[in-house]
C-alpha cells in the first residue's frame, strides 16, 4: 500500500509521484481542481489546473489566480505523471482527474452525475485500476426520475401558479443547479427572473456557449408581469426583503435531498423537487462498473455503506476521509459553522446564516 498513487494528507488528496493535490482544502503549491463548487475549489493555492470550460467560473469565484486550463482528454505530464481531465457531468467545467504513472491508472471523480444535461459536458466513464468516487447519495433510497419528468413537474407548478396570479420562487444553488433548471424551463409561461448571484453565473455559462432561456433582473420586470414570473434565487435569499417583494408567492426547493419527506418538511417550502447534480445509487454503481477498476476508494457521503456494499460485490474497497462534507453527508445534518461547505447545503430553514459559503455551493 506504500505505493498508492493518491493518499490523503492534511491538506487534501495528494498524488505522491506527481507531487500535486486534488481539490485540497488547505493552501498548497499545486492544485488540480475538479470543479468550482466552494468545497472543492478554495482560494490560496499558488497554481491551479482545471478543465478549460471551468476556468471562467473559477476566475469569477476566486478572483485573480494563477490557473491553466486543460481541454478535456488532452494530457499534460507533471513529474512523470500523465494527467488528463474527463467530463464529470456535474457542473460546467467539472472533471474527473486521470493519473497514469508507470503503467498504473488512477481516476479521482470529484463530484459527478451520470445522466447528461445540456449545461455541461456529459459524464464519460474512464477505465482505470483504482477509482476514487464520491458517495453523496450512496444509499439505494436515492434513485432519480429522468430529468425531463422533473422539468415537466417544475413547469406545471409554475404554470399553475402563474394562472392564479402568483409568482413562483425556486430556491437552488446559483452555480450549476440554477442553470440546469433554467435549461429545462418553458419560457412561454412567463418571465424568468434571476437573483444577482445567479445572473452572474448565467453570464459565465452563456459566455461558454451554453444556451439558457432569456433571464432578467427583477428591476427590469413590470409589476404585473411579476405575478406570472418564475424567480430563481439562492436559498440564502429566503426570507430576505429581496424575496418578500414577490408578495404571495409559492416557493420550491430543488435538490437531491428533497427525495426524503423529512428533508422536504424541514425546508418548509410548498414544493420540493428532486433534482440532483450527483449520481444516484444506480448511477454510482453504473459509473464504478464502467471504470473496470478493481479497487475503489470512497470519499464524502455514505462511505461506510458504499465500501461494505462494494466489498460484497468482490471489489477491493476502502474509504478516504475528506473535508468535502460531513461523515454522513445528509443535509439533515446541518452544516456546522466550522464545517466546510457541503456540496448541496443543509435543508434547515434557520441554517443559511450558519452555513457560510454553503448556500450556493
Amino acid at each position: 500500500m506504500t505505493s498508492d498513487m493518491v493518499v490523503v494528507r492534511k491538506e487534501g488528496l495528494y498524488c505522491v509521484p506527481g507531487q500535486f493535490y486534488i481539490d485540497p482544502w488547505r493552501p498548497v503549491e499545486r492544485a488540480v481542481i475538479t470543479h468550482a463548487h466552494g468545497d472543492h475549489a478554495r482560494g490560496g493555492h499558488q497554481h491551479y489546473l482545471a478543465a478549460t470550460p471551468g476556468v471562467g467560473v473559477l476566475r469569477s469565484r476566486l478572483g485573480p489566480i494563477h490557473i491553466d486550463g486543460l481541454a478535456y482528454g488532452e494530457t499534460v505530464v507533471h513529474n512523470g505523471v500523465t494527467i488528463s481531465l474527463h467530463p464529470a457531468g456535474h457542473v460546467l467545467g467539472s472533471a474527473q482527474v486521470r493519473m497514469a504513472y508507470r503503467g498504473e491508472v488512477w481516476v479521482a471523480s470529484g463530484d459527478y452525475k451520470v445522466e447528461a444535461d445540456s449545461t455541461c459536458a456529459a459524464f464519460e466513464p474512464v477505465r482505470c485500476d483504482t477509482f476514487i468516487t464520491e458517495s453523496t447519495f450512496g444509499l439505494p433510497i436515492y434513485r432519480w426520475q429522468p430529468q425531463q419528468e422533473v422539468y415537466d413537474d417544475i413547469n406545471a407548478w409554475w404554470r399553475a401558479n402563474a394562472d392564479q396570479g402568483r409568482a413562483s420562487v425556486m430556491q437552488c444553488y446559483s452555480f450549476g443547479k440554477a442553470q440546469r433548471i433554467l435549461s429545462g424551463l418553458d419560457p412561454d409561461i412567463g418571465p424568468i427572473i434571476c437573483h444577482g448571484a445567479v445572473q452572474t453565473l448565467n453570464q459565465v455559462y452563456r459566455d461558454s456557449g451554453v444556451w439558457l432561456p432569456p433571464t432578467v433582473m427583477v428591476a427590469d420586470v413590470e409589476k404585473d408581469a411579476i405575478k406570472r414570473s418564475l424567480v430563481i434565487a439562492p436559498p440564502a435569499a429566503a426570507g430576505s426583503p429581496w424575496v418578500k417583494r414577490f408578495g404571495d408567492f409559492s416557493d420550491a426547493f430543488a435538490s437531491g435531498w428533497m427525495q426524503l419527506r423529512g428533508a422536504r418538511r424541514r425546508r418548509g417550502v410548498d414544493r420540493g423537487f428532486v433534482l440532483s447534480d450527483h449520481a444516484d445509487w444506480p448511477g454510482l454503481m453504473q459509473a464504478i462498473t464502467a471504470t473496470g477498476a478493481e479497487r475503489v476508494i470512497v470519499t464524502h457521503g455514505s462511505i461506510a455503506v458504499l465500501v461494505r456494499w462494494l466489498q460484497q460485490q468482490g471489489l477491493q474497497a476502502s474509504g478516504f476521509d475528506t473535508e468535502y462534507g460531513d461523515d454522513e453527508a445528509d443535509d439533515a445534518a446541518p452544516a456546522a459553522p466550522e464545517a466546510p461547505a457541503v456540496p448541496e447545503a443543509p435543508a434547515v430553514p434557520a441554517a443559511p446564516a450558519a452555513a457560510p459559503g454553503g448556500s450556493d455551493a
Binding site: 426524503l260 417550502v269 450558519a354
Partner: protein, 553 residues
C-alpha cells in the same frame, strides 16, 4: 389512490394553511363520495389498526428489493420511516392502476388483517407493483397502522364547510364519532356529513359527544385579563378530559381523542343521569381525601380495558364536572359560561341529594378578591394535586376546538419542576426530524456505592432518568446535532452515546417513584426548557436533588 396520494403530498409539503385548505377543497369536491368518506376518516385523525406486522412488511420489502438486511437498515436510519423507506427502495411499478382509496381500504387492506404470511406476501408484492412511490408510501403507512397527516381537524371541517355551504360548527358536530372506528366510512355517510341541516339532526346523534372546547396557554400576567369578576376560575386537574353523554337511558363516556371509554370506567357508566344530559369534566382517581391521586394512578386505570373488582376498589375514579353542554336534550353550548355553570350546579346538587353519587363531583369555583390573591392561592396547586388554574370568561360560549371566537378559556399553569441534567444518549428523530439527532436521554449524578453499600470514595456516575424530544428551536437542534456528531463515543444502531458535555434544564409536570426505572423515579411530560451554556457537566444536578422533589409540595 392517486388523487389521495397527491392530496397527501400537497398537505405534507406546504406549511401554508391557505394552500392546504385549497388542496382539501379541491379533493373533496372532485373525489368519489366513498373515497372522500375514507379521506375524511384519515384526515380527521382516524387511526386504522395495523393490518400487517412491521416485521413482515420489512421482510417482504427486503425480499422484493433484493437488498441485504443491513443495507435496508442503513436506508431506514436515513429515512426515519419504514413506509417511506419501503416506498423508495422498491423498483418502479410494472402494473399501475386506478383503484380508488375506498376499494384499496376495503378490498385491498382489510383482508390482510389476520391473513397467513404467505397470502400477505402475495398480496403485498402485487400491491407494491401497482403503485408509484407516493401511493406506495401511503398504502404501506395505512397497512402498517402509522398514518398521520399534517392537517388539523379544524381545517378538514373548514374545507367541508366550504364545499357544502354548511356552518363549520355543524360539520364539526357531525364529525364527532367519525374517527373512533365504530362507524365505517361510506358514501352515504359522506353525503350526510355535507348535507343541508335537518330537524332530525339531533335525534340521529345517538351517543355522540360535542366537539371539545380547548383552552389556550396563558403566557402573560393574568391581571391583563382585566376585571376579575368577568372570569370564572377553577382548578386545572391533571386527569383525563372526558364527556359523559346520557341519552336514551344509557351512558357513553368519550375521551378527548374521541375514543369511547365507557367500559374502562364502570363506575361512571352506571351513574344515573336524566336523559339528554352531556357533562364535560375530568376523570381522576380520588381516594376520598382533599386532593386527587397523582396521574400515575389514573394511568393504571386508563391502560385496562376490563377492570377487576380489586382495581375498582383500589383506584376508584370520579368525574369532576365543570361544564354542562346539554340538558333535557337541548344543546346549551351557546349559553354564557355563567348560565351553564348555574345549571350544572343545580343538576349536580339534585343528583347528589337523590342518589349520593360520590363518583360525580362538581369542580369548585375558586373565589378571590383580586388577581394577586388568586396568584397566592395558585401557589398551593401542587399540594392540592392540581396543575394550576383554569380561567374562563363568564360570558364565553362553549366553542369548538382551540378557538377564541365565542369566548376564551385560559389555562394558567404552575411552573414545571425543573432540574439540570446532562445529555448522554441521542437518537435520530422521525418524520420531519429524520436524520437529525433530536431525541435525547438525560442523566443526573449519582454517588457510586461500593459493595458494602458505603460511598464509593466520592465517585459519581451519570444515571439516566428521562428522555425528552421537544423544547428546542430548529436552530438550537442544529447546533446540538452537530455537537452530538462531534462527541460521539459509540453508535448502537440509530442511538449514539456521547461524551457528556452539554447541560440542559429539563422541565416536567410530575414525579413519582418507579422501581421499573434505573434511576428509581419516573417523571411526567419531560421536555427541554433551555440549554445551560453557563453550567459545566459537573455542575448538573444530582439524583438526590431529583428525589427531593418527590417530597416537595
Amino acid at each position: 389512490m392517486r388523487d389521495f396520494a397527491l392530496l397527501y403530498a400537497e398537505l405534507d409539503d406546504t406549511t401554508s394553511t391557505t394552500r392546504k385548505l385549497a388542496a382539501l377543497e379541491n379533493y373533496f369536491s372532485t373525489a368519489a363520495p366513498a373515497d372522500a368518506a375514507w379521506a375524511v376518516y384519515f384526515l380527521a385523525g382516524g387511526k386504522p389498526r395495523q393490518a400487517v406486522p412491521t416485521k413482515l412488511l420489512r421482510q417482504f420489502a427486503i425480499e422484493y428489493s433484493g437488498l441485504d438486511d443491513w443495507l435496508f437498515d442503513e436506508c431506514y436510519h436515513a429515512v426515519g420511516d419504514l413506509a417511506e423507506t419501503i416506498a423508495l427502495i422498491l423498483p418502479p411499478p410494472a402494473q399501475p392502476n386506478e383503484i380508488g382509496l375506498a376499494d384499496w381500504i376495503e378490498l385491498g387492506i382489510a383482508p390482510l388483517r389476520g391473513a397467513d404470511p404467505d397470502s400477505v406476501r402475495t398480496a403485498l408484492l402485487l400491491y407494491w407493483d401497482q403503485l408509484d412511490t407516493r401511493e406506495r408510501f401511503l398504502l404501506t403507512k395505512l397497512i402498517g397502522g402509522g398514518f398521520r397527516v399534517g392537517v388539523s381537524r379544524l381545517l378538514v371541517t373548514r374545507a367541508l364547510s366550504a364545499i357544502s355551504g354548511q356552518d363549520s360548527k355543524l360539520i364539526a358536530q357531525r364529525l364527532m364519532g367519525w374517527t373512533d372506528g365504530s362507524v365505517r366510512p361510506t358514501a352515504a355517510g359522506f353525503a350526510q356529513l355535507i348535507a343541508e341541516h335537518s330537524e332530525e339532526e339531533h335525534a340521529q346523534r345517538g351517543g355522540q359527544p360535542y366537539p371539545f372546547f380547548l383552552a389556550h396557554q396563558l403566557d402573560r400576567e393574568p391581571a391583563t385579563l382585566g376585571d376579575l369578576s368577568r372570569w370564572q376560575v377553577e382548578w386545572k386537574y391533571d386527569g383525563m378530559r372526558a364527556q359523559l353523554v346520557s341519552r336514551d337511558g344509557r351512558n357513553w363516556l368519550w375521551s378527548r381523542g374521541e375514543e369511547l371509554i365507557t367500559e374502562r370506567f364502570p363506575e361512571l357508566a352506571v351513574l344515573r343521569l336524566p336523559d339528554g344530559v352531556v357533562l364535560d369534566g375530568e376523570i381522576l382517581v380520588w381516594h376520598g381525601g382533599a386532593a386527587p391521586a397523582p396521574f400515575a394512578d389514573l394511568q393504571k386505570r386508563i391502560g385496562r380495558k376490563t377492570v377487576s373488582a380489586r382495581l375498582l376498589g383500589e383506584l376508584p375514579v370520579v368525574l369532576v364536572a365543570y361544564d354542562l353542554l346539554e340538558y333535557e336534550g337541548r344543546d346549551l353550548r351557546a349559553l354564557p359560561q355563567s348560565e351553564r355553570r348555574a345549571m350544572l350546579e343545580e343538576l349536580v346538587a339534585s343528583l347528589q341529594a337523590q342518589q349520593g353519587a360520590p363518583q360525580l363531583r362538581l369542580a369548585p369555583v375558586v373565589q378571590a378578591d383580586s388577581w394577586e390573591q388568586l396568584a397566592e392561592i395558585r401557589a398551593e396547586s401542587r399540594a392540592r394535586g392540581v396543575e394550576g388554574m383554569m380561567v374562563k370568561a363568564v360570558d364565553a360560549q362553549y366553542g369548538v376546538g382551540r378557538t377564541k371566537n365565542v369566548g376564551t378559556w385560559w389555562k394558567w399553569k404552575i411552573d414545571p419542576y425543573s432540574i439540570d441534567a446532562v445529555l448522554i444518549y441521542a437518537q435520530a428523530g422521525h418524520g420531519r426530524r429524520a436524520s437529525l439527532y433530536t431525541d435525547y436521554t438525560f442523566a443526573v449524578w449519582d454517588d457510586v456505592r461500593d459493595e458494602e453499600g458505603g460511598e464509593g470514595g466520592g465517585q459519581r456516575k451519570l444515571v439516566p432518568f428521562a428522555k425528552a424530544y421537544s423544547g428546542l428551536t430548529d436552530a438550537e437542534i442544529a447546533k446540538v446535532d452537530h455537537a452530538i456528531r462531534r462527541t460521539t463515543i459509540e453508535k448502537f444502531g440509530p442511538v449514539r452515546s456521547v461524551t457528556p458535555s452539554m447541560v440542559f434544564e429539563i422541565g416536567f409536570e410530575g414525579i413519582a417513584s418507579s422501581p421499573r426505572h434505573k434511576s428509581g423515579i419516573a417523571v411526567r411530560f419531560p421536555r427541554i426548557l433551555r440549554q445551560r451554556h453557563d453550567k459545566t457537566v459537573e455542575q448538573a444536578d444530582t439524583l438526590d436533588a431529583l428525589k427531593n422533589l418527590l417530597v416537595a409540595p
